[in-house]
């Protein structure tokens, strides 16, 4: 029995439904899932199977139609301010990076801290440290247009970590990268996640990526076919 399996669940999902168009479209249809603290879970499945929808609901970007979600003993239904919850607990990484093109790499990393209580110097130092750790020390003031795909995704990873979240939600983070860059980004991401004891839930089509996760969840038609329990 591994140490991971003994750890407490960071996320518990029961009978989760996400329906659109008055119930005609069932993006999620009765999903049950437990994710443990520090676990790396990959979600695989064909397009339209509900992978990204599940990630969006976990990340409070979408509100479920019904079902129960609990994050560290806090039911989602009791979350007053979803934005604040995201800022304090969740880091997002997207396939298309979603960097702001007119901001430097450093400023892109700092953006999520705008409106937070800390000082600008504090956030700047943290952002520089993260970018340095991700091998972008000499790219701090480069704009996204001057960075390679791998470098952009590393900036996005740094951005997801700036507010010291407990859980990273990554939607096909290597989907836009060539295999060499994909491997490098994955190495960096998994390394940081392990080092900081973070939970990583990653949607991926790539079998080599999901093979590196602690658990693979397979979805189809809005349901989990395999890997629901740790």
């Amino acid at each position: 029995m591994s140490a991971l399996s003994l750890s407490t669940p960071i996320l518990r999902i029961k009978a989760l439904n996400l329906h659109f168009d008055e119930g005609r479209i069932k993006a999620l249809n009765g999903v049950d899932l437990d994710v443990r603290e520090g676990e790396f879970v990959s979600i695989a499945g064909p397009s339209g199977s509900g992978k990204s929808s599940l990630l969006n609901v976990i990340g409070t970007l979408d509100a479920p139609t019904s079902g129960e979600l609990v994050f560290r003993d806090q039911p989602y239904s009791k979350i007053g301010d979803a934005s604040l919850f995201r800022r304090e607990n969740i880091g997002f990484i997207f396939q298309a990076f979603y960097l702001i093109p007119t901001l430097s790499a450093l400023d892109n990393v700092i953006v999520p801290t705008i409106g937070c209580d800390g000082t600008a110097d504090e956030y700047k130092a943290h952002a520089e440290a993260l970018l340095t750790q991700l091998g972008l020390r000499d790219r701090l003031h480069h704009f996204p247009g001057k960075l390679s795909g791998g470098e952009r995704q590393r900036v996005a990873i740094a951005r997801s970590l700036i507010n010291r979240p407990r859980m990273i939600l990554a939607d096909e983070p290597t989907g836009s990268l060539d295999s060499a860059n994909a491997a490098q980004v994955l190495d960096i991401l998994t390394g940081i996640v392990k080092e900081q004891g973070l939970t990583l839930i990653m949607v991926t089509h790539d079998a080599t990526v999901s093979a590196r996760s602690d658990r693979i969840i397979r979805m189809r038609d809005g349901k989990i076919e395999q890997g629901a329990s740790a």
Binding site: G59, R87, R159
Partner: protein
């Protein structure tokens, strides 16, 4: 990186739209600044002229609401006023706007009682004053001399009669600097208004108090039906031209405010529609809805403040230009003050907030997942 810098950056990356919006706001603010400063300056320059003469009260026909109140026979009224307590001097004044040169626009021609206190505040810079009440000469304000290209010893033709320029004077009031001055007797002759004046100026003795002024006003009301005794400020504020110019200035403020707010509204609405996905990213990254509202409103306020600053500079320039065109020289004296500029900036900020609030609210209501899917 902070919210303000981020807002600035968002505006900087759309230079054409930002420039057009700032220009539109600036035009509105410039119109407000120019018209308001001229309206106030018009009022102030007339009051300054009255105050500079040392007049305590002005008696005129109650129904007169022009810059130059309707002329009336002065003799009986003057005698009644002279008998009131604390009244030191009562002198008539006749004024007309007349053409004195084919090359220049009409100018004010004042007729003042020869030897009265009205002349005392003027500074003679060349020549001499009229030597008697019947001497057919004029003295010219420095600005009028420049506009009419006249100097001491030249001649001017007024209403078909030739007058010699006896001297040139300066006054602290622009309306006097741009005017021609002759004795009241000459003015009555040349305008064919014998014995008539537009107003009677009352100078009180040194012991007179505010209560004495109020008493004179009351006595004029009771003993001279159809006449009214008012201060120069009251006369000017009742003046129809001042009222019209102030009404136009207020209308301009209203229109400029509405147009400015609509311009900001349109710009910000287009901006947030273009940035739907970016707003979704910010929300996904943990930005609170309040922070989104602050960002959009900040951008709107930056636009309007920039428009306000440019508009003030343009408005001052327009007012200065109007003061110096031939038609207006010597008639208006635009006034500016820091409180006025602060008020204009306040108006700019207000229209930024008004124009930016709905787009900000709309952006903040975006559902992050829908915004991220937006193409």
């Amino acid at each position: 990186m902070n919210l303000f810098r981020f807002a600035l950056d968002n505006l900087y990356r759309r230079p054409a739209r930002t420039g057009l919006t700032v220009s539109a706001i600036a035009l509105g603010i410039a119109a407000v600044v120019a018209l308001t400063s001229i309206a106030w300056g018009f009022e102030a320059s007339w009051q300054k002229a009255n105050d500079a003469r040392g007049t305590d009260l002005i008696v005129t026909k109650m129904t007169s609401e022009n810059t130059m109140p309707s002329p009336f026979k002065a003799e009986k009224v003057q005698q009644t006023l002279a008998g009131l307590p604390h009244v030191k001097e009562v002198v008539g004044l006749l004024s007309e706007m007349l053409t004195v040169s084919n090359d220049a626009p009409p100018v004010f021609v004042f007729g003042w009682v020869y030897g009265s206190y009205l002349w005392e505040h003027l500074k003679l810079v060349d020549g001499r004053w009229p030597a008697s009440r019947e001497e057919p000469v004029v003295v010219i304000g420095a600005l009028a001399a420049e506009m009419l290209h006249k100097k001491t010893g030249d001649q001017v033709e007024i209403e078909g009669r030739v007058f010699q320029v006896a001297g040139i004077f300066e006054s602290s009031a622009v309306v006097e600097n741009g005017a021609l001055l002759m004795t009241l007797d000459m003015a009555q002759q040349v305008t064919d208004k014998p014995g008539k004046v537009n107003v009677l100026n009352i100078k009180m003795d040194a012991d007179a108090t505010e209560a004495d002024l109020r008493s004179i006003k009351e006595q004029v009301k009771q003993t001279l039906p159809g006449f009214v005794a008012i201060t120069s400020g009251e006369l000017v504020s009742k003046n129809a031209v001042v009222r019209i110019s102030k009404a136009m200035s207020n209308a301009t403020i209203l229109i400029a405010g509405l147009v400015g707010a609509l311009v900001v509204f349109n710009t910000m609405l287009m901006s947030i529609n273009e940035r739907t996905r970016e707003i979704g990213i910010l929300l996904a990254l943990g930005w609170q809805r309040g922070t989104i509202i602050k960002l959009i409103v900040s951008e709107a306020v930056i636009l309007s403040v920039a428009g306000g600053v440019v508009g003030i500079v343009m408005g001052v320039g327009i007012a200065w230009g109007l003061e110096h065109i031939e038609l207006m020289r010597g008639k208006i004296d635009a006034i500016f003050s820091m409180p006025f500029f602060f008020a204009v900036m306040g108006l700019s900020v207000l229209l930024g907030i008004c124009g930016g609030f709905y787009p900000a609210f709309k952006a903040a209501r975006s559902l992050p997942s829908a915004a991220l899917r937006y193409e």
